[in-house]
Symmetry: C2
C-alpha cells in the first residue's frame, strides 16, 4: 500500500534542533531575503526581483517599465522560493505581519500575469514575442514550477487561494501551448513536473497531471529538440550548448536512462517529478527507471555527506566513483533535490534507505549550506578545504573556505530556507491505517488518518525519541536508520521485540501510549569502497546522522594528522557554544612532523595526538581554516 | 668559476640505455615525423608543414599559393624541432640519406624567407600585412626561436651553415623591428630568448645577445602590453585572454617574480633564457630571480616524476602544493623545458640539485612521453590512471590511459625527440680545468678542454659507472645524486675518500686512469611533505633516478592495495622483455576485500599480498589498465 508522504500543514516542530533551525530561517533568513528581493539588504548583490514584477505589470498595462528587467532569466524564482519558505514557516510560526507582506507580494505577482495566463517578468518586460522559443535556456517553465510550489504551500498554510488561482491560470496557459497547440518542447531545467504534480494533488486539476506526464514522457524522445529549437531563433540567453544532451538529461527518454548524469539539480528535480508521476499513474517502467537512477546516485555517485554533483563542469554528476573531496561541487540545491527525490521514492515504496539518504543529505550538506547565524550560505559543499588552494587554484575557485553572502544567482539560500521550513513534510507520512515517522523532530503532528502524537527528542545529539499518542489508534511505523547498529523500542515502558521490515518497525498504538525509541549513540569510523580512488586509505567519523569533519580551528595543521584504526572516539560532555550547541568528538591520532622537504626517502616521524572533530554542517563558522572529512588512517 | 654546460658535438652515446632510446628516435621517430610533416604518416592528423613552406615560397615569388596555409599558427616549429632532432641524431649516428633530406628541407625553408629576413609561413601565406601585430598569439618569435635552435644544432652537427645564415638574417630582421624600430612588444610564448643566446654563443653576433637581453628585461615592465596590442587590431588567432598576465608570465618584470606561474612550457622556456642571459651578462638580480623561480618549482610545485604544470586550465602551474595525481597536466614539453632550465642553472652554479631534477624529469616524465616502440606519445603525464574515470570524466578528459598518436598540436613528440637525441648535451659540462659528468650514459666524450674519456654503465638499471680517461689531464667532477644514500669512488682500483661539494666529487685524472663510481642500487620508499594534501598517508617507490608505479597489468585491481611501511622491496632478477628490459620491483602489501557498499562503518578485511611495480616511464605500454605512483600505506 502506498503512502501519502507529505503531511500538509500537519506537523509542528515546536522544540529542539529542527525548531532552532526553523526559527533561524523565520527570524533571520526570511526577513533578510525579503530585503534582498527589494534591494535593501546590505552586502547582497542586486536582486531587483520585486521591481521586476512591478515593471512587468506596467509593461502589461502599456505603462512605463521604469528600469526594466534586471537579473538572471530565472530571477522570478527567487520570489517563489521566498514565498514558499514564508508559507511553510507560517504553518509552525504564525506571523500576521509576514502574512501581510506575502499577500502584498502575491498582489504584485498577480498584476504581472498576462491576460492569457503567462507569467514571467523576463520575457514580459524584455520581449513578449520571444515567449516559449528558448525552452533550453529561458526557464519559463522552471519559474512557473517554483511559483506553483509557492502557491500550493501558501494555500496549505493559510487557505488563501489568490496565488493558487494565478498559477492554475498559468498552468492552463501552459496546457494550451504544449497540449492543445502541440509545442514539441520540454523543460530545459526540470522543476515544473514536480510542481504540476503538487498542483494536481492539491486542486485535482487533471490538466496539471496531464502536463506533468507529458513533460516527463516527452523528454529525450527527441534528444535533438534543443538543437532544432536553437536553429529556429537568432538569440540566446547565455550560449548553452544545445548538443550537450547529458547536461539536460535529454539523451534518451527517462524510462531508458540508467545513470544519473548532467546538471545535478536538473537531474534530481526531474527524477522527483518522475517518481511523483509513477506513484500517481502506477507506471512500472518509469518507477524502475527511477530506482535505477536512485541506485546510480546513492550507490556510486554520492558523497558520504549526501552531496551530489561532484564536478564544477556543468555543475554535474561525474562518472561512477569519481568523488574528489577538494573540488566537489555538491551544490546545496542538489542535496535539497535529492531529498525531494528520496521523499517521492518513499511514497512509492516504504524503505528506510530513502529516509536514510534524505536524513544524511539534510543534516550534512543542506545544513552546511547555511551559516550558523543564518547570514551567509555555501553553494558548494566540498569535503576538504585547504586555504591557499581552495578558492584560489584554477580548479578550486568554487570551493570557498568561507560562506559567501547572497549571490546574484541566489538559488541555494532560499532553497535551503524553504526546505528547512518544511522539514515536517519530510519527517512524516501516512496512509489510511499507518502513520510513518521517517525523521525525528520534537513537535506535534496531526495525521490526516486521525492519529495525533507528540514527539520529544534531542536528536541529532540525543538518541532517544519518545512518541506520545494524543488521540487516535493506528499502526505507527518508526524508522530504524541503517547507521544504528543497535536499537530498542519500548511501549509504555515495556520492551517490544519487533524486527524491522525494510528499515521500519510497525507498532500498534492508541491514545495515551508512549513509545520510546533508543538508537545507537556511539560514534563510528566509516570507510568507503575501494572503488572510490580518492578515498583509499582514508576513514571518516560519523555519529547518528551527522558526518564529522576535522578543522584547523580545533587541531592546528590537520594535514599531518592520521586517525588510528579502532582508536577511541570520545563525544564531548558539553555542547559547544561557538558551534550552536554541537558536540565535538575526540579521536586517537598521530601527527607527522614535517621536515619541509617536498619529497624524501625517509618516513616522517610521528607522535601520538588527539584529533577533534566537529559536525560537518558546522564547518567554516570560525574563520578561514583547514577542513577535512576523510582523514588518512594508520592501521 | 662558471662552466660551459653544453658540449657541442662532443658526446657520443654508443651503448646502453640512452643509446637504445636515441636509436629509437633515429630509427622510428625521426622518419615517422618526416612523414607527418609531409602528410604521409598513417594515423597522424594532417600536418601540412612542408607544404606550408612551399606555399610560402610561392607567395613570396608572387606565384600560386596552392592550398595555402594549414595548421596551428606555430606549425613551422614542427619542422624546426624535427630538424633539430635530426641534427642531434646525426652527431652520434651519421646518416647521409637523412642529411640529404635535411638539406632539402632547409632549402625549402630558405626559399620561404622574405627579402627582409622575415620567416613565418602562417603570416607570409595568409597576410603579410599582419606581421608583428599579435605577439600574444602569433608565435612569430616562437617559431623563429625553434628554427634558430635547429640552425645551431645542424651547424654543430655538420658544419653546414645555410640555415644558420637564414636565421642570422632573421635575427637581424627581428633586431630591426624591436631594437631599431622600437616595437614595444615581447614574445607571447617565450622561446626565442634561449634560442638567441644559442645563436650568440655560436656566432658571436651581438645583436642576438642584445635581443635576448631586451626581450627578457622588457617582459612585464608593461604588463598591459598584450591588452594594448589587442585593442589595436581587429583580428585574433584563437581568442587568448590578454588580461591573463599570469598565463604569459608578464605580470611583472622577471626580476620581480617569485612564483612559477602560468603556462608551464612558456614559464620554463622563459626562465631558461633568463638563466642563460644571467650566466652571460652576470646580472645578479636576474640570477636571484631565476633561483627563486627554481625553488618555487622544485620545492613546492613539482611532481616526484619531475612533472610540472599541474592543471589543465591554461596548461599551467597551480598554487603551492596543489599536486593532484589524477588530473595532473604535466605536459611532456614542460618537463623538457625544466631540463633546459636546470641545465642553464647548472651553468651558473655547479650544484647537484640541478642535475638531480634534470635526471628525474628525463627518466620519468620525458621518457614516459614516448611509447616504448616510439610510435605514440603522451602529452599529459598524470600520476594516476583509473579507466572509467581517466580520459572520460569532464575533469579528466586530458589524462588518457593510452598514448595517443600525433596530434594536430604536435609539440611534445618532436620535442622529446630532440631532447633524447641531445642527451649528451645535458650529461656533460666543462670549463678550462674541469670536466663535469652530470648524468651517466655509456659512450665517448671529447671535452673542448682536452680531456677525452669513455663511460661504461648499465645505468639506470646498473649502478656502477666506469670512466676511462683516454687522453688529457684535468679535474673530473662526478655528480653524486642526492637519492644515493651511499656511494663509493675508486681510482685505478683504489678507493678514494673524497667528500662531495654541492653534489659533486672532484678527482684529478690523467690519461689511462680508470675511475669507478658505485651508487646506491637499493629501491626505497619515498614520502611527500604533508603540505601536499593529495599525498597524505601515501608512499611511492623509487630506485636510482627511476620513479616506479603500480599497474593493473601486474596486479589486478590496484585500488584495494596498500603498501606496508618498511616492507621488503625486491628487484627482479631479470629484465622484462615486455617493458624493453625494465626491472620490476616487488613490494610487501595488503589487499582489501571490497564489500561493494559505497560507505560502511566496518573496515574492509585485508589479506597480505605482493605488489609489483614498474618504472613510471614504461606505464601504459600493455593496454589500458589502472596505474598509480602513490599508494596508500599501512604502518
Amino acid at each position: 500500500m502506498k503512502i501519502q508522504q507529505q503531511i500538509n500543514s500537519g506537523a509542528y516542530i515546536s522544540d529542539g534542533f529542527i525548531n532552532r533551525w526553523q526559527r533561524l530561517i523565520k527570524d533571520t533568513v526570511i526577513p533578510y531575503q525579503y530585503n534582498v528581493l527589494n534591494d535593501r539588504a546590505e552586502g547582497a548583490e542586486k536582486s531587483h526581483v520585486i521591481a521586476n514584477f512591478m515593471n512587468a505589470a506596467n509593461a502589461l498595462r502599456g505603462e512605463d517599465i521604469g528600469d526594466g528587467f534586471y537579473g538572471m532569466v530565472f530571477q522570478d524564482s527567487d520570489a517563489a522560493k521566498w514565498l514558499e519558505a514564508a508559507a511553510f514557516s507560517l504553518v509552525s510560526y504564525p506571523d500576521q505581519e509576514l502574512e501581510k507582506t506575502v499577500d502584498e507580494v502575491i498582489d504584485l505577482i498577480a498584476d504581472a500575469q498576462d491576460e492569457d495566463g503567462y507569467l514571467n517578468t523576463y520575457f514580459t518586460i524584455k520581449d513578449r514575442d520571444k515567449r516559449w522559443q528558448n525552452l533550453m535556456e529561458g526557464h519559463e517553465l522552471y519559474c512557473s514550477g517554483h511559483m506553483m510550489e509557492a502557491a500550493c504551500a501558501y494555500y496549505e498554510a493559510t487557505g488563501k487561494d489568490k496565488l493558487l488561482k494565478v498559477m492554475e491560470r498559468n498552468a492552463e496557459h501552459i496546457y494550451d501551448i504544449f497540449i492543445t497547440q502541440k509545442h514539441e518542447g520540454y523543460p530545459g531545467h526540470p522543476e515544473v513536473e514536480l510542481a504540476l504534480m503538487k498542483m494536481y494533488r492539491l486542486t485535482g486539476n487533471r490538466h496539471c497531471f496531464e502536463l506533468a506526464e507529458h513533460f516527463i514522457n516527452t523528454r529525450g524522445v527527441d534528444p535533438k529538440f534543443f538543437e532544432k529549437e536553437a536553429k529556429k531563433r537568432d538569440w540566446t540567453v547565455w550560449g548553452n550548448d544545445a548538443t550537450n544532451h547529458h547536461y539536460a538529461q535529454n539523451f534518451a527518454p527517462i524510462k531508458q536512462q540508467n545513470d544519473a548524469v548532467g546538471h545535478s539539480v536538473r537531474a534530481v528535480y526531474l527524477y522527483t517529478g518522475a517518481a511523483d508521476l509513477a506513484s500517481e499513474n502506477g507506471d512500472v517502467e518509469l518507477l524502475k527507471a527511477c530506482r535505477r537512477l536512485w541506485e546510480s546516485i546513492t550507490q556510486r555517485r554520492m558523497y558520504i555527506t549526501g552531496g551530489i554533483g561532484s564536478t564544477l563542469i556543468g555543475e554535474a554528476f561525474s562518472v561512477d566513483y569519481d568523488l574528489p573531496n577538494d573540488t566537489a561541487y555538491n551544490e546545496t540545491c542538489a542535496s535539497i533535490g535529492l531529498m525531494f527525490f528520496a521523499s517521492r521514492m518513499l511514497e512509492n515504496e516504504v524503505n528506510g534507505e530513502y529516509a536514510d539518504v534524505m536524513e544524511r543529505a539534510f543534516y550534512n550538506t543542506v545544513l552546511a549550506g547555511v551559516q550558523l547565524d543564518g547570514k551567509k550560505f555555501f553553494y558548494c559543499n566540498p569535503l576538504e578545504i585547504i586555504p591557499g588552494i581552495s578558492g584560489i587554484a584554477a580548479t578550486h575557485w568554487h570551493t570557498k573556505p568561507q560562506r559567501p553572502g547572497w549571490y546574484s544567482c541566489a538559488c541555494c539560500p532560499p532553497n535551503a530556507a524553504r526546505l528547512i521550513s518544511s522539514f515536517g513534510k519530510y519527517a512524516y507520512g501516512e496512509n489510511a491505517d499507518t502513520a510513518y515517522c521517517h525523521l525525528y523532530a520534537a513537535g506535534e503532528v496531526s495525521f490526516a488518518n486521525g492519529l495525533e502524537l507528540t514527539c520529544e527528542t534531542e536528536y541529532p545529539y540525543g538518541f532517544t525519541v519518545n512518541y506520545v499518542i494524543k488521540s487516535g489508534a493506528k499502526r505507527l511505523a518508526v524508522r530504524i536508520p541503517a547507521w544504528s547498529r543497535e536499537y530498542s523500542i519500548d511501549r509504555n515502558g515495556k520492551k517490544l521485540s519487533v524486527l524491522p521490515k525494510k528499515g521500519y518497525v510497525y507498532v500498534d498504538v492508541t491514545a495515551g501510549d508512549k513509545l520510546t525509541l533508543t538508537l545507537d549513540s556511539d560514534p563510528h569510523y566509516v570507510y568507503a569502497s575501494t572503488k572510490v580512488p580518492e578515498l583509499t586509505g582514508c576513514t571518516a567519523v560519523w555519529r547518528g546522522p551527522l558526518v564529522y569533519c576535522f578543522e584547523g580551528s580545533d587541531n592546528g595543521d590537520i594535514l599531518p594528522v592520521s586517525l588510528k584504526r579502532g582508536g577511541r572516539l570520545v563525544v564531548s560532555d558539553t555542547p559547544d557554544d561557538d558551534l550552536d550547541g554541537a558536540y565535538k568528538i575526540t579521536a586517537e591520532a598521530v601527527r607527522a612532523v614535517d621536515d619541509s622537504l617536498l619529497y624524501s626517502d625517509t618516513p616522517l616521524a610521528e607522535e601520538p595526538c588527539e584529533a577533534v572533530a566537529i559536525p560537518y554542517y558546522t564547518w567554516g563558522n570560525r574563520g578561514e581554516n583547514q577542513m577535512r572529512v576523510w582523514m588518512s588512517e594508520i592501521r
